[in-house]
């Protein structure tokens, strides 16, 4: 569960990225956070992952109050999240399997658990047959599947994807979104930060629109509805 109360975020004097944001995302939801470039949507995502601490206000993510938490607690918050990036951020020198396995090592999983769970998530995202390949041998869509598998492998409460389809063609983008929807159907909260109107419109999901650092719309339904308000 994610709660933001009256959150302000500034990057220096006169540069306010968020101006009093209130947001609640319950467990099991699928939420799009949309808005134009510079609207503050990535700042919102960074507040959730604790890359940023709010300048003012309160941010609680999966029972961690990021406004007050110690730096040493940040890794434990991030373990409750699965983070997917636009540029995949896979480790090139490692194979697909190792990239996913690595996330389990970090939490101290046993070799037996790792073997079982990694195979399961690679199969879930449809990339098990390429487990021994290096990321550079895969297409963009396949790399993003690996990134999603890595985000999923520790069974996080929430997946947060920041422009996950930004580097993909429309067909691959749709595949990735379908995959995220499937993950959501299995019970994981999914938050997708994007500016791709067409993609958002293909799913009847909650859309939080942000512009100029303010939430200007928050409703169930597509991106165009936000534009019409």
């Amino acid at each position: 569960m994610i709660r933001m109360n009256d959150v302000y975020q500034s990057y220096g004097p006169g540069t306010k990225a968020l101006k009093g944001v209130d947001l609640r995302i319950d467990d099991g939801e699928f939420v799009f956070i949309v808005g134009p470039s510079g609207s503050g949507k990535s700042t919102l995502a960074k507040l959730i992952t604790a890359e940023l601490r709010p300048t003012e206000g309160r941010v609680v993510v999966n029972d961690f109050n990021t406004s007050k938490m110690k730096m040493s607690e940040v890794p434990y918050l991030r373990r409750t999240l699965g983070i997917v990036f636009q540029d995949f951020r896979l480790i090139e020198r490692k194979t697909v399997y190792e990239n996913v396995e690595f996330a389990m090592r970090i939490v101290g999983a046993s070799p037996r658990e790792i073997k079982r769970r990694v195979s399961y998530v690679l199969d879930l995202v449809g990339i098990l047959h390429k487990a021994r390949r290096k990321p550079t041998e895969l297409s963009g869509g396949e790399q993003q599947r690996v990134a999603i598998a890595r985000a999923l492998v520790n069974n996080p409460n929430t997946i947060i994807a920041d422009e996950p389809t930004g580097n993909l063609d429309p067909d691959r983008s749709l595949e990735i979104m379908m995959l995220l929807q499937h993950i959501n159907d299995l019970g994981t909260t999914v938050i997708v930060v994007t500016h791709e109107k067409e993609l958002v419109n293909q799913f009847d999901k909650r859309v939080v629109a942000i512009d100029g650092g303010l939430i200007i719309s928050d409703r169930q339904g597509g991106y165009f509805q936000y534009e019409q308000t």
């Binding site: 040493s72 983070i83 690595f102 970090i106 101290g108």
Partner: protein, 295 residues
Amino acid sequence: MNRHNIVYFFREGIKSIFSHGFMSLASVTVMITCLLLTGTALLLVLSVNLTIESMVTLGDIRAYVDETYTREEAEALENKLRMIENVSGVDFIPNDRALEEMRDEFGTDSWLLDGLEYDNPLRHSYRIMVVNIDEYDQTIADIESVQGIADVHSSRESVNKLSVIRNILGTVSLSLMVLLGAVAVVIISNTIKLATFDRREEIAIMKMIGATDGFIRFPFIIESVILSQVAALIAFGLQWLAYNYIVSIGLSSIELIEMIDFSTVKYYFLGGFMSTAFVFGVLGSIISIRKFLKV
């Protein structure tokens, strides 16, 4: 730290050593040089110390009894001498034994002393050993103040000069240790910084997927510990070989300085080298990785 990750940490640390081969070699070389220079200075200090100690503990002080004293009166002084603080041993040398010793020293020319046994001009004396060299001057003064002691011979000047040399060497070796330690830390930290810089993306990913700073840091610490311990072992071997070689070719023939036997201090050197290198290695890696962890 989780036991499942120990193998991973070692594997990553060792991999990194080979992927930055040149810098690894540079840091090992610098570390060896630092340890060798410090070790050499330390060996010199120990040798000078040994020289001073053996001079005073092996009976460097000779106290001569008043020539009017009979042998029995001279022997009676032994208790007074033993009671002096800092005196560890007293050996009475009657004048007939002194003459015998002199004959031995003269060797083939000992015939020159023939006839002296009938009217021995030598005095009874004591060879005195002390405990603490730092109280050397005071001890000599105490001996001189004993009634019946006419004269005291010692290597006071030599001992004092050697003490000065020892103190200078001690300061030099300590300064070297600090200076070279700093150099070693900088070089090791640069090696690790290079490895860290090379993997900064990877570190950022690790941070974002929930790795603790300890998890990220550990392979780099392993890397620097391995490098520093390899350097310590090589430096120890080289120090041993070089020192023994130098002693064997000449320094041992200089009677002024008694060179320390390396085998008597080898475990101290091994432990000292390894622990010093360990501290510098770990310090270097912690310093270098710190800024990359701020994600």
